[in-house]
C-alpha cells in the first residue's frame, strides 16, 4: 500500500459515511460506550483535579452554554470539552480499546457533548459521530502502536485529538478538503507524555485532546488551512512520533472492520490486573454471605506475576495506593463487595476491619496463570476451606460487561454525585440517546440540584 494518501482517503471515508452504513451491533456498542462515558464523567465530576482545572479556566470561559457533567457550573463548549475529558478519566475507570490501551470515549464524547450544546445535534447524529471518532482514533492508534506508546506517548492524548477532530468535523459537516485540514490541525497538536502518569496531568490529556480536536474542526470550518497529508508525510504525525507506521491499520477494511466495536469497560476502578481477584472475591462473598466473611483466617491468591509486580503494595495508606494493592482490593471485595471508586478512598483503605483482613491475604505468582485468571483459596477459623478459580474475569475481552453490569457501574458512580433518582433518570435517558431530538438533553439532565452539589463537594 502506498503511504501517499492516508489522510486524504481517511477524510474521504469520514465525510462520505452515513449513519445507516454502521452495522447495528456497532451502533449498540456505541451506545454502551456513551452510557459508560456519562457514568464516568458524572462519577469523577467532583474530584480535586476537576476543582483545580475549573479554578484555572473559569476566568477565560466564553459563553457559558455547555455543561460540566454532574456539576452546576457551565463553560463555553471548548472548555466544557476539556473538563468532561478530565472528569471521565480522572478515576481511571473509563473505557479501553485493549489493542492500543486507548481510552476512546474521553476525547471524542467530550468534544461532541460540548458541540451538542451550541449547535443543533440529534442523539442519533451524536452517536454516529461518536463511532466515527472512536474508529478514527483507534485506527490511527493501531497504526503506530506499540512503538509510539513505548516511546513514551500517552496514546489517549496523541490519538484522541484525531478522534475528536474527526467526530466534530463529521458532525458539523466539513467537506473532504476541510476534513483533511482538521486532521492536519489535529496532527500538529498531538501531544501527551506518559511521564505525567500519577499526576493530575494524566487526565488533562483526554480533556485537552477533546478541546483541541474540536478546535481543529472549527478552524478548518472557518477556512484555516493545513497540511493535507499530515498523518503520513515525512515530517508528519506517524513518522515523527513513531518508529512503526502501518497504514493498512488506518485504511484497511474501512466500513467492514470496526475497531469501535471492540471497546471494553472496566468493572472495577483500578488497574486491570487486579480485576480477576476482585471478581473472584465478590463471587465468594455472594456465595458465603457477609457474616461468614468475618470468620476468614487466611486468603491465598495464585496470580499472574504481573499482579505482584504492579500491585504488590502490602500496606497502602491512601486511596490511590489502594489501587496498587491486590491485598486491599481482595479485602474490600470480600468485606464490602466493592470494587468501585468507593473502594479506593483514604477512609476505606484505613478501616480497621479492612486492614485486618488485608493482612490475612497472601499472594503467590505463577507464570502459568493467565492475566485474566486467578485462584483464590480461603481458609476459615474452623479450619474449613473454599477454593474459587476465575478462568476469565468480567470486563476482559472474553467476558465483557453485560448491560446490567454497566448499569450497576453507572449507578455506583453517579448516585454519589447527583443522587439515586436523578442517576436512574440520567441512565435511562443515556440508553435512549439514539431517540433524542436534542443530544444536549443528556448533559442538562446530569446537572445536580444545588443541595446535592454541595453534598458532593
Amino acid at each position: 500500500m502506498t503511504a501517499m494518501k492516508v489522510t486524504a482517503e481517511l477524510a474521504d471515508w469520514i465525510v462520505g459515511l452515513k449513519g445507516t452504513d454502521i452495522p447495528a451491533e456497532v451502533r449498540e456498542e456505541g451506545v454502551r460506550t456513551f452510557v459508560n462515558w456519562i457514568g464516568c464523567a458524572v462519577g469523577g465530576a467532583h474530584h480535586e483535579t476537576v476543582d483545580a482545572a475549573l479554578r484555572a479556566v473559569e476566568p477565560f470561559s466564553g459563553p457559558r452554554k455547555a455543561t460540566v457533567l454532574g456539576r452546576r457550573e457551565k463553560l463555553d463548549a471548548l472548555h466544557a470539552a476539556l473538563l468532561n475529558g478530565i472528569t471521565s478519566h480522572v478515576l481511571d475507570y473509563d473505557d479501553t480499546h485493549l489493542k492500543t490501551i486507548i481510552h476512546p470515549a474521553g476525547p471524542v464524547a467530550s468534544a461532541l457533548m460540548g458541540l451538542a450544546e451550541i449547535r443543533p445535534l440529534s442523539g442519533r447524529d451524536l452517536l454516529t459521530a461518536l463511532i466515527v471518532g472512536v474508529e478514527v482514533e483507534c485506527r490511527i492508534g493501531n497504526a503506530v502502536y506499540p512503538d509510539h506508546y513505548d516511546r513514551g506517548w500517552h496514546i489517549t492524548g496523541t490519538a484522541g485529538v484525531f478522534g475528536a477532530a474527526a467526530a466534530v468535523g463529521y458532525a458539523i459537516g466539513l467537506d473532504a478538503q476541510k476534513m483533511r485540514w482538521a486532521l492536519g490541525l489535529a496532527a500538529t497538536q498531538s501531544a501527551g507524555l506518559r511521564e505525567m502518569f500519577g499526576t493530575m496531568t494524566k487526565s488533562f490529556h483526554p480533556g485537552r485532546a477533546a478541546q483541541n480536536g474540536a478546535m481543529s474542526a472549527f478552524l478548518a470550518e472557518a477556512g484555516y488551512d493545513s497540511s493535507e497529508q499530515a498523518i503520513e508525510a515525512k515530517r508528519g504525525f506517524a513518522n515523527v512520533m513513531s518508529d512503526k507506521q502501518d497504514y493498512s491499520e488506518i485504511l484497511g477494511e474501512l466500513g467492514t472492520r470496526w475497531e469501535a466495536a471492540l471497546n471494553s469497560y472496566k468493572p472495577f476502578a483500578c488497574g486491570i490486573v487486579i480485576h480477576p481477584t476482585i471478581d473472584g472475591c465478590q463471587q465468594i462473598r455472594d456465595e458465603i454471605g457477609g457474616a461468614r466473611v468475618k470468620e476468614i483466617a487466611k486468603v491465598q491468591l495464585t496470580t499472574h506475576p504481573l499482579v505482584l509486580e504492579l500491585t504488590g503494595k502490602t500496606a497502602p495508606k491512601t486511596g490511590l495506593e489502594g489501587k496498587f494493592s491486590v491485598y486491599h482490593s481482595a479485602a474490600c471485595a470480600l468485606l464490602h463487595g466493592d470494587g468501585a471508586p468507593t473502594a479506593f478512598t483514604d477512609e476505606v483503605v484505613n478501616q480497621p476491619e479492612i486492614v485486618a483482613l488485608r493482612d490475612k491475604v497472601k499472594a503467590t505468582a505463577d507464570p502459568n496463570c493467565h492475566e485474566a485468571s486467578v485462584t483464590i483459596e480461603v481458609t476459615f477459623n474452623d479450619g474449613s476451606t473454599l477454593t474459587k478459580h476465575v478462568e476469565r474475569a468480567i470486563g476482559s475481552r472474553d467476558l465483557p460487561l453485560t448491560n446490567e453490569q454497566l448499569e450497576t457501574k453507572f449507578m455506583n458512580q453517579a448516585t454519589l454525585v447527583i443522587g439515586d433518582a436523578p442517576s436512574r433518570a440520567l441512565l435511562d435517558l443515556a440508553w435512549t440517546i439514539e431517540d433524542l431530538d436534542r443530544a444536549a438533553e443528556v448533559a442538562e439532565v446530569s446537572v445536580p440540584t444545588a443541595k446535592l452539589q454541595n453534598a458532593a463537594v
Copy 2:
C-alpha cells in the same frame, strides 16, 4: 552532569531571578526583541490567516479584555495570545535565535501581553519575564537541537510552550513547586510538526505555544499538579521528542551565558539566504539612484549554492513564490529599494518593470561563497559595470540590525496597518517599555482607528 534534576534546577533559577540580575546589555536586547515583535504583530494583523483564526475562535472567547495587536477586536487573554502569536509569525519576518532557528518572541511575548491586560504588570516586569521566557525556550531548544528539529518538530512550537509557561509563571509569581508543574504541563503540550510549513498552520504553532504555555502557568497556580521532572524523565520531553539530550545547555552558566542576548531580527521578509542579495542591491540603488537603475542591462549574482537550491524560482507568479525567487528579490531591491512584506505581494511580483528587470538577473552558485555573502556585478546599457561585494549581510550575526534599521522595519510594516503617526507613537512607546507602569498601554496604543482598520482590511 546528572540528568536527575534538570526541571527542578531550572525552576529554581527562574523563580529566584530578579530583574536586576540581568545585565544591561541583555535587557537592551530584550527591548529590541520586544520592539521587533510589536512591529511584526501589527504588520501581520490583517493577513487572511488571522481573519480565519478570528472567525473560528470568536464564538468561544471569554471576557474580551485583551487586544489583538493592530486590530480593533478584543478577545480573552488566552485567545489574544493565540492570535498575537499567529500575527507576529505569519509574514515569516520575526526574530530568530540562529543556533536553533527558534523564533523566540512569538510564544513568549504573546502570552505576556495577554497577561498584562488582565493583571497588573509593569513594563519592567514584562521585560524581565520576556527575557526569562526567551532564555528558557532557547536553552531547552539548544538541549535537543538539531536532532529534534531534524526529526520533524517545529521547534518554535515545541520549545516555545516552555518559554511561555516560564514567562507567565514568573510574572504571576509561582513558587518553585508550581513552576515545576507549569513546566510539566508545558512539556505535555509540546507540539508542532514541520509538515505544516507552507500552510496557515505554521503560524498556528507560536500562537498555540503562547496560549498553552500561559494556560500551563494558570493551571499550576490553581493547584493543578504535574510531573516535577518533565524535561529529563525517561518518558519526558527530551527523551521522547529527541535523540539528543544535552542538559548542560539548559543548566550550564545560568545567569552568565544569555541565549536571550543572541536574538536576531530579519531585515527582509523572506528566507535568510536571499538577504545578502537584497542588501547589496539596496546599496547599489542608494549609490546610483533610481534613474540609473532603469539603464541596467544585466545583473550577475555569485552566491552560496543554497541560494539557488532554496530560492531559484525564475518566474514567480504570486507574492509567496516571490519569497522563493532571488531574481525577483534582486529586481525589487534595485527598482523599489524594498525587501519588506510590500516587496512580496502578488501585485508587485507581476509588475511589468519588475518582471523585465528580474529577467535580466542571472545567478551562479559558488561553493566558496559564504552564506551571508554575495557578489553582484551590474552591467549598464552603456557598457559600463559596477561590482558590489557584500561580505556579511545586515541581520546576520556579524552585522545585526541597528536600532535605526529596526525602526525602519517597524515603520514599513506598521504604517500599512495603523497609519504613519500612530505607528510612530507605538514605536516610541515600545522603546520605553521598561518605564511603563502598565505594560498593557502598548497593546492599547496599537489599536487602529475604525477608518484605518477598514482600509487595512
